[in-house]
Symmetry: C2
Subunit: 320 residues, 2 copies
């Protein structure tokens, strides 16, 4: 829930005049997304999303993000397309911030997830992974396994404010994850944040994936592990194996997993639970109480982590 | 900046199915407005605004607000039209809240106000006042002069947190306003909250007035006094008499002021400055620090009030 930068209407009019989009008809700040300022922009030619990149996004990464969307859209992956101004550039500046206009995707993100949503997600994720192989740029995953120890260290002294004994529970788990972290698995461009609010549907048909601002090069199956955590637990935090089975099966219809990926799935799931637990914990402890962002509960991921600690093999995720 | 109620997508689909609007194509929470939850709703037939009325709006007032929009739109006042479902009703329920779909108005609210904006505003406000005369319902202004003393009483003990000596400055001013408050002036339906973010333009042409949720029956010229405060001060809080002159002249092109209204303008301006000062002060002192609402600075209205205290007559507002 965020609009960090107010865009003056006359500045916007000048900005949009550099595109072949006609005049601005309306623009309204969107209350979704926590990293950037987003507007629904209506011009004489249609609806678009205007994004102003705020300080949590490294400007040096923007050519990767925008280039990836361009690359994927050209391969018919349902994702936003950056709109180029008349000078051929999609990445520009507005109100003192890097800014881009991207295409508006129809569809709504699902508040109540069905197994069919998960099947569609799996298939789209696999298509994304396959389509990403030809992309020329690469980006290191700044939030992968190497980053978790410093994150934990930054939170450890205050983790008890969220849950007594939390740091003591996380320390041996992180030791285990670091020791067991798989190597040699297929890598490529992953989305790394395919949560339900980043995936649009009409009915149960997937119409779009958005928010590529965590995309990076990493283990492909790690994306799948993030998906298991984000899509296959119920509101009461129980694991829904039917949803997981459909997610995995959907993925494998497009790209099958090699045996080493299957064997690593539990470790990847524990790792991705740790990643979201730690970033949520950090944000929880460090978001000023008057911030305009609703903090996400780190404890949700403590429970997910506990679940994965009890998992024996990928069969427990419905892998067949 | 606010979306208080998350609307599940399947609930929304069922809700929209009761209208002749086709299927939901997308919906996004808007980061504007502080009283209600608002969404840009796109369906197969076009764009709309979906509003869920939150607890600060009295449900008993909703027939007045929606009926007024209907009445005004029928008289060609540029304002949103409530969309009726197939049962003929515009006021319905969604996610446990009263809810309505209203038409989407093109245009953007001006961040940098020009004298021409003020002229357009004056004219549109007068047309609104004239068109409101035939409206059958009425609503008492719960935030008029009688409410200011209890509001001040509720803030007095902590007003010094905002500015030392503030309560001592406001007490005699309120005495004066109460004693001098005009009677016998023309009354009717007023908007009562025509701030720049509630008025849309394309270029300098006014295309819409929105947010009727403070509309009520009161002194017509009080609306004009609110406009002077909201539109005719610069960011450095100096008064721009050119803007005021254009606002008043624009208004009078449609509806001229009677002498008693002209003679009362200073008192109405001091009163309206007091009204926004007090509600902002109250919200400032009573908004939880973790609220998702950006609080508005009450001190802005202290300075405006000071300006009006030095005004001798309507001529100082550019009245000719």
């Amino acid at each position: 829930m965020a609009v960090y930068t107010e865009v003056p209407d006359d500045d916007l009019a000048r900005f949009v005049a550099d595109y072949d989009l006609g005049e601005v008809v309306s623009y309204k700040g969107i209350a979704e997304g926590v990293e950037n300022s987003n507007y629904v922009l209506k011009t004489e030619t249609g609806s678009y999303i205007l994004t102003l990149y705020e300080r949590r996004v490294n400007p040096a990464d923007l050519p990767f993000f925008l280039g990836l969307m361009d690359h994927l859209a050209a391969k018919a992956i349902p994702c936003p397309t950056p709109i180029k101004a008349r000078d051929g550039k999609a990445l520009r500046e507005l109100a003192g911030r890097p800014a881009a206009i991207i295409s508006f995707l129809d569809g709504v993100w699902p508040r109540r997830i069905t197994p069919q949503h998960c099947a569609e997600l799996g298939e789209a994720m696999a298509r994304f992974h396959v389509a990403g192989t030809g992309f020329a740029l690469s980006r290191h995953n700044a939030l992968s396994v190497a980053s978790w120890r410093p994150l934990l260290a930054a939170c450890a002294s205050r983790a008890h404010e969220v849950k007594p004994g939390l740091a003591a529970m996380l320390a041996p788990e992180l030791d285990w994850i670091e020791r067991e972290w798989p190597t040699g698995l297929p890598t490529g461009v992953i989305h790394a944040d395919l949560f339900p609010d980043n995936v649009f549907f009409r009915g149960e048909r997937l119409t779009g994936m958005i928010d590529f601002y965590f995309a990076c090069n990493d283990i492909l199956a790690y994306d799948l592990a993030i998906g298991l955590n984000a899509w296959c637990f119920e509101a009461d935090r129980t694991f829904n194996v039917t949803k997981a089975r459909r997610l995995l099966a959907g993925y494998r219809r497009v790209r099958d997993l090699v045996p080493a990926e299957v064997a690593s799935l539990v470790r990847l799931a524990r790792g991705s639970a740790m990643r979201f637990l730690l970033t949520r914990l950090y944000d929880w402890l460090n978001t000023p109480p008057d911030a305009l962002v609703r903090r996400k509960d780190p404890l949700e991921y403590v429970e997910k982590l506990r679940f994965h600690q009890g998992v024996k093999s990928a069969a427990d995720y419905g892998f067949e």
